[in-house]
């Protein structure tokens, strides 16, 4: 291994690291997007999430200990985000390409951070119950 090789390898490792950082789930960026879409109607909390090429919004801040309905809307969704997994709730479902899926979260389950993912893991969203 000569110096040229070592420099090339080092630069590549650093740049690949940067590329992964670029797409990684950044906690600081999450905090910036605190636009909460949770609304409480008659004691039930509703959270709306759109699923297409990922989930929007990516972070939802909601009230803890309130029975919650998570409404996931698909609209011509054929990518991975139609294949929804919520590990904590042991929930997995292939959503219809277009429609709205209601997922009930009980008051006991509405605690801490709930992570939702597509089945391949490259798209995700978080619900933070506070």
């Amino acid at each position: 291994m000569d110096t040229k090789t070592i420099i090339s390898l080092t630069v590549s490792v650093v740049l690949i690291g940067w590329a992964f950082w670029f797409v990684s789930a950044k906690p600081s960026a999450d905090d910036g997007a605190r636009a909460s879409t949770a609304s409480i109607i008659d004691g039930t909390q509703f959270i709306d999430i759109a699923a297409k090429g990922g989930y929007t919004p990516r972070v939802v801040v909601a009230k803890a200990g309130v029975p919650t309905i998570l409404r996931v809307a698909t609209n011509g969704t054929f990518d991975c985000s139609a294949s929804l997994v919520i590990p904590k709730l042991s929930y997995q479902k292939f959503l219809n390409p277009s429609g709205i899926e209601d997922i009930a979260i009980s008051a006991e389950e509405a605690q801490g951070t709930l992570q939702g993912l597509c089945s391949m893991g490259m798209y995700g969203f978080k619900i933070r119950f506070e």
Binding site: F20, V23, K88, M120, G124
Partner: protein
């Protein structure tokens, strides 16, 4: 070096480079033994030597060159001297930046919002083709494309031919047609449950990791992890392989891609299921598979083509780095889906 001399029959021992598998040894033995002037040939995989007995003329160097010509097309070189293992670190000067650019382009592409090109929920054949095209360059590229790249580059490296790759694609298209039809007819989805999905994702990631490290050709230890078949079985395959290539394995792998954890494939299966008819389900899955074909054909036939170019060393290392990066991505994703680790990426 001459070991024995018996009238004009001579026995030589040469060093072979490029042998990785039991089937390679069998293949070389068969090619050499086919020559009229060669009585017998025995390849020893452990010390990478071939012992040939036959009527030879000329110096050992000339004989080695003559024998090399016979097996060169399969990627083997027969020499008098034991060739030192060429790790080819210099290739990384080019391979690493190229791989980086491709990986970065892949990651950026994931954020380009290609999925918004698909509108409406009615799937015409045109839409199915478009979904296939998009699938082959987005998230599914990590798992299906990565697997195709690692398998075809490895196959090309071991002397595979265009026929192996064509069989893989035929298996994939045929599999999608028949299984798509079955889904439509039975009204029962064939996609796997969450646990099976995760297990399959981890297995695919690990296979890609081993193949990727092998493609780098830097470390010796991964050879031990390589999936090697028993010699008797290899001999059986190699007999057919010489003229017919491996027939069954690529077809089965092609069909197997139907079950890979690729979100697009699974959504299309769900749609095929809703059609309730064999022909519609079969056609829609076939058209989807045809949509993925251009990208996958480029990866597989491209690998094969480049494998015979002078800069193949750079290509194999580039492919190795990309495959390893995708394997790690798939592994992290599978573990995140299982809820074991936090999601590593969010496109």
């Amino acid at each position: 070096m001459v070991l024995t001399e018996d009238s004009n029959r001579k026995t030589y021992t040469f060093h072979v480079s490029g042998t990785h598998c039991a089937a390679c040894a069998v293949l070389i033995e068969q090619i050499l033994a086919e020559q009229a002037h060669i009585g017998s040939a025995k390849v020893s995989l452990s010390n990478r030597q071939v012992v040939v007995t036959g009527e030879f003329a000329g110096s050992p160097e000339e004989i080695a060159a003559e024998l090399t010509k016979l097996v060169q097309s399969h990627g083997y070189i027969i020499g008098v001297e034991k060739s030192a293992h060429q790790a080819g670190w210099g290739d990384f000067v080019y391979a690493a930046p190229i791989a980086l650019v491709i990986i970065a382009a892949f990651l950026v592409l994931q954020r380009a919002g290609l999925t918004s090109l698909i509108t409406g929920s009615n799937v015409s054949y045109g839409t199915a083709f478009l979904i296939g095209l998009i699938a082959s360059v987005s998230s599914c590229l990590a798992i299906v494309g990565g697997l195709v790249l690692s398998l075809s580059a490895s196959s090309a490296k071991e002397g595979g031919t265009w026929r192996t790759i064509a069989l893989f694609h035929a298996g994939r298209l045929g599999g999608f047609f028949v299984l798509g039809g079955a889904v439509g007819l039975l009204g029962n989805s064939l996609h796997l449950g969450l646990t099976a999905n995760i297990v399959l994702g981890v297995i695919v990631a690990l296979v890609m990791l081993v193949l990727g490290v092998n493609l780098l050709d830097v470390f010796h230890f991964t050879k031990r992890f390589q999936l090697t078949l028993p010699a008797a079985f290899s001999r059986h395959i190699a007999r057919g392989a010489k003229r017919h290539d491996h027939l069954l394995a690529p077809v089965l792998i092609g069909i197997g891609t139907f079950f890979l954890p690729c979100g697009f494939t699974q959504s299309m299966q769900l749609y095929a299921l809703s059609t309730g008819s064999f022909m519609t389900g079969a056609s829609i899955m076939l058209v989807f598979a045809l949509g993925t074909l251009p990208m996958l054909a480029l990866l597989s036939f491209g690998s094969l083509n480049i494998a015979h170019k002078s800069w193949k060393g750079i290509f194999f290392k580039t492919a190795g780095i990309i495959v390893i990066a995708l394997a790690l991505l798939n592994l992290a994703n599978a573990l995140a889906t299982a809820g074991i680790i936090n999601p590593f990426v969010n496109f």
